[in-house]
């Protein structure tokens, strides 16, 4: 009885929570298929806003810019983040390790406004001093994105490495593998799932970012979130609904893949743990 009551209560709360989270998104998706030009008025089903979207050069330009930034960012963030993670976990207690480890996690908690502002300041100073970057846009946004997303990659890699027994690398060395071979034969293959998850995370975070990009971007370089934000500031627009729907789809796919990789990794680790427990 009591149990039944409680579970009904939990069920209600869960439903409310879910509704709160997803009704806005579902509305967005539904209204993106609205024929009417005035968003809240239902004028019948149509895909005309998708057509409008695909015919808009500005939208295409920003999509391409965003994807380019996200891809390049994910690539470099994964490499640098992995190296940072390796340095933190595997190279013993080098001088300044604690400072380094603290500094690498700082961007995770720093307000984005601050990160964006400081990066903008840096770019302006650099331009004063060296004449580079002469024009803010793709390069500056990418650099800015790398600085914060590599921190996330480093954290993922760090936790993966900490869970990975060091004796595997020692065993490889013992069997005659030089340190570089150990890295390519043992460490990196075992880190691959973590790196892939890191890549996806860096990619989606870059795609998501509005604030930092707005700070460090220059005239003419408009990322997708910037475009959306600037357009809806003057009122809801059905073509932006269509655009948002597409983004939701892409991001959801990315998150699902990343979650799946993490899940598999978790299972693998449990198996390894079981292995060592049996003995």
């Amino acid at each position: 009885m009591n149990n039944g009551k409680r579970s009904r209560f939990l069920f209600t709360v869960t439903c409310f929570g879910m509704a709160f989270l997803y009704i806005p998104m579902i509305m967005l998706i539904v209204y993106s298929f609205n024929y009417s030009k005035i968003v809240p008025v239902w004028g019948g089903f149509s895909t005309r806003w998708y057509t409008v979207l695909f015919e808009s050069e500005v939208v295409w330009k920003s999509v391409i810019l965003s994807l380019k930034v996200a891809t390049v960012n994910a690539f470099f963030a994964t490499i640098i983040g992995t190296l940072a993670g390796l340095a933190l976990v595997r190279f013993g207690r080098f001088k300044g390790r604690t400072l380094f480890s603290g500094m690498i996690t700082a961007p995770l908690v720093m307000p984005e406004v601050i990160t964006g502002l400081s990066l903008l300041l840096m770019f302006i100073t650099l331009k004063e001093l060296f004449g580079w970057p002469d024009k803010r846009g793709f390069t500056t946004i990418t650099i800015a994105h790398i600085t914060f997303s590599m921190a996330f990659v480093a954290v993922i890699i760090q936790s993966r490495l900490a869970g990975m027994a060091q004796d595997l690398e020692e065993a490889a060395q013992d069997l005659g593998a030089k340190p570089f071979r150990v890295l390519t034969d043992i460490t990196l293959p075992l880190l691959a799932p973590g790196m892939l998850a890191g890549w996806l995370l860096a990619f989606t975070m870059s795609l998501d970012d509005l604030i930092i990009a707005s700070f460090v971007s220059g005239p003419g370089a408009v990322t997708l979130p910037m475009l959306i934000y600037s357009r809806v500031r003057v009122g809801l627009r059905p073509d932006i609904n269509a655009l948002a729907t597409i983004i939701i789809l892409v991001v959801a796919t990315g998150v699902l893949i990343a979650a799946w990789i993490m899940f598999r990794q978790q299972k693998q680790r449990q198996l390894e743990l079981q292995m060592s427990d049996e003995d």
Partner: protein
């Protein structure tokens, strides 16, 4: 003058022989904890040297220093005359089997075993041949395509063993190599280890918890405690002439009685004990003053138990009653209580079949325990 021809089996007796592994006053500290405390060790070519000791006494740490994963905090390690202190693990002529096995989870059994050979740049055909032979030896041929997590504990252990053995290094370090194997496989593998040692002249350093294994396998045994060697010697020496109570208790079991030396002759000593209240006559001299506190150790199987009094010089004989009996098939163990409540363990072979299902001795029987003057050992620490 000892016979020089004996040296082939016992190189450590040969004053001319050069040790193959030489550990020279090596210590290892972790912070302010001392895991290995100023040890010296010489291991000769072709030996099967066992490290025995309780958990946490520093066995793995010592092996890891030999393999090059830990640098000694002080001291030197020489292998084949070369100072190893600055030689990285991948250049040492040593392979190690890890206590945790450390199998590569992303490679199957075959690739795990072949990994070391690949790194040495050996031709593909030869690699295949040697991997096949090795897998056949450890009876894993049908599992060659499996990943480590698809194997049982004992199978994984065999993969680890095969991976270390296949490279035929000059020195093999084995950290508890046979712990997870069943009796038959363990005996086969022991036999195979001895074979490999014979054929290839590999020098083995084996860590084990299993003293029986150490006794049957080793040329010499080192008993470790708290980072130090308590005693190094052949299995017989360690068993028959332990130098301390710790060693006597660690290898086999022993009855230990505290007492004082009342007579110290060149060829015998007499020790007066309080519990049990009797004099022990021991036929080897000790270099210790009369009146000093010592311990007398007598192994349970060296004590004769009988229901009639017998006499060895009037000493080394105690009366008691049977307190407990354990029937172990080949042997029985008796726990005998003397008049002053001391408990003495005795093992005695069951030669005849128990009559009417009864053993020769029964609970609360009055019995006499006796042993020869050569069976007891005087220990000073």
């Amino acid at each position: 003058m000892p016979d020089p021809s004996n040296y082939t089996d016992r190189p450590w007796m040969d004053p001319e022989a050069e040790p193959f592994i030489k550990v020279q006053s090596v210590s290892k500290h972790f912070g302010d904890f001392t895991a290995v405390d100023n040890v010296d060790l010489e291991i000769y070519k072709g030996e099967l040297f066992s490290l025995l000791g309780g958990s946490g006494c520093g066995k793995t740490t010592l092996l890891r220093m030999l393999a090059g994963f830990e640098t000694p905090s002080s001291g030197y390690i020489f292998i084949d005359g070369v100072n190893m202190n600055d030689v990285p693990p991948y250049e040492r002529p040593i392979n190690m089997m890890f206590q945790s096995y450390a199998l590569f989870p992303h490679m199957n059994v075959e690739k795990n075993v072949a990994y070391g050979l690949r790194r040495d740049g050996i031709a593909g055909d030869e690699i295949n041949q040697r991997v096949d032979d090795m897998l056949a030896m450890v009876e894993l041929t049908q599992f060659r395509k499996r990943k480590p997590h698809q194997l049982s504990g004992g199978q994984r252990q065999r993969v680890a063993l095969a991976r270390a053995l296949v490279k035929q290094p000059k020195v093999l370090l084995l950290d508890e190599p046979l712990a997870a194997l069943d009796k038959r496989l363990r005996e086969n593998t022991q036999f195979e280890l001895m074979n490999i040692q014979d054929q290839l002249g590999v020098t083995f350093v084996v860590v084990t918890h299993d003293q029986e294994e150490a006794m049957t396998l080793s040329t010499r045994i080192a008993v470790m405690d708290a980072g130090r060697f308590m005693q190094i010697g052949t299995p017989t020496e360690i068993y028959e002439f332990p130098e301390s109570r710790l060693v006597a208790n660690f290898i086999g079991s022993a009855n230990m009685f505290q007492g004082r030396i009342t007579e110290n002759g060149p060829d015998h000593v007499i020790v007066q004990c309080k519990q049990p209240d009797c004099e022990f006559y021991i036929d080897h001299g000790v270099s210790i003053q009369e009146g000093n506190k010592v311990w007398v150790a007598v192994r349970p199987e060296k004590i004769t138990i009988s229901s009639e009094a017998s006499d060895y010089n009037g000493n080394n004989c105690i009366k008691g009653i049977v307190h407990d009996i354990g029937y172990l098939g080949k042997l029985s163990t008796y726990r005998v209580k003397t008049a002053d409540e001391t408990l003495i363990d005795v093992t005695s072979p069951n030669l005849a079949r128990p009559k009417d299902g009864n053993l020769a001795m029964d609970w609360d029987d009055e019995v006499y325990l006796s042993w020869e003057a050569s069976s007891a050992v005087v220990l000073t620490k």
